[in-house]
Symmetry: C2
Subunit: 166 residues, 2 copies
């Protein structure tokens, strides 16, 4: 009821009209960014979004800045940044420091990780195809107390040691 600071800007307008100044509730922000409303609540709890709260009804209110932060967070997640990293970047931006040098570093690191992942998967793929070919000639057989499934037991064991994170 109280107009106060919580006037609505588009409630009935199309959510993709982002030129106006927005005052969004959870679902509106979520829709605008294309995410689950629970993700908005989760990010808010985690401190990535900083909505204001309407004391009348205890609702959260998000603005264009939150939308920018949310879209940024989703892009960064797609690039492989962890939530703590995203929060760190956003906090740096809040303090008027440029987060970009850090982003470059983490990004380089992430690129290296991606390339290592690709290598490992390609090796795995190669070994799988080799094994599949070899299995063409092997009978299925019945478990005999010594062998559970020769397909897997005869698998060559040189797998990438994925768990070491130095």
């Amino acid at each position: 009821m109280a107009p106060s600071i919580f006037g609505q800007a588009f409630h009935t307008a199309a959510p993709w009209n982002l030129a106006v100044l927005l005052d969004m509730k959870v679902k509106e922000l979520a829709t605008a960014a294309g995410v689950n409303p629970d993700t908005v609540r989760f990010y808010t709890r985690e401190g990535l979004l900083k909505p204001t709260r309407n004391p009348d009804n205890n609702y959260q209110h998000y603005d264009t800045e939150d939308l920018r932060r949310l879209r940024f967070a989703r892009k960064a997640r797609q690039l492989g940044f962890s939530l703590p990293e995203v929060r760190q970047i956003l906090d740096q931006a809040d303090d008027h420091h440029s987060p970009c040098p850090m982003v470059r570093d983490v990004f380089q690191q992430r690129l290296a990780d991606v390339e290592r992942e690709i290598d490992e998967l390609q090796q795995l793929r190669k070994r799988m195809k080799t094994a599949l070919a070899a299995w063409q000639d092997m009978p299925d057989g019945t478990p005999d107390g010594h062998t559970i499934c020769r397909l897997i037991e005869h698998w060559d064991d040189k797998a990438p040691a994925k768990q070491v994170e130095e």
Copy 2:
């Protein structure tokens, strides 16, 4: 004290001497297979391993069969089989059915997954390298209320939709 069925076979012998009939406690089995003792306990709770229990002290006792199952489980996990799948394979083997046909199916499926993963990662890698090249020319700048980090905000958004599982 009671020698009973729980005589020890190697306790002092080298754990890699697997030709003898083994009677192992948790840590011995874990060491023999190169896994964490908690993983042995976890797999036991999950029904992948079926040790006998010494009623005197309530300890679990594992034999060569368990070692084989554990090693099999680890290999299957490396190949991308889930724990329920591994358990299913082991149970089939227990019932004297050959699990191999099922293994072949799941394996084919898994190979397709791996190839899809590789494709996605290669696309990601390509976009990352493109972005890195483009960023060479971009200044870092300081957050100005409109931009958090142009490196990420200017990222092109066409990411693989990984969450869809058909």
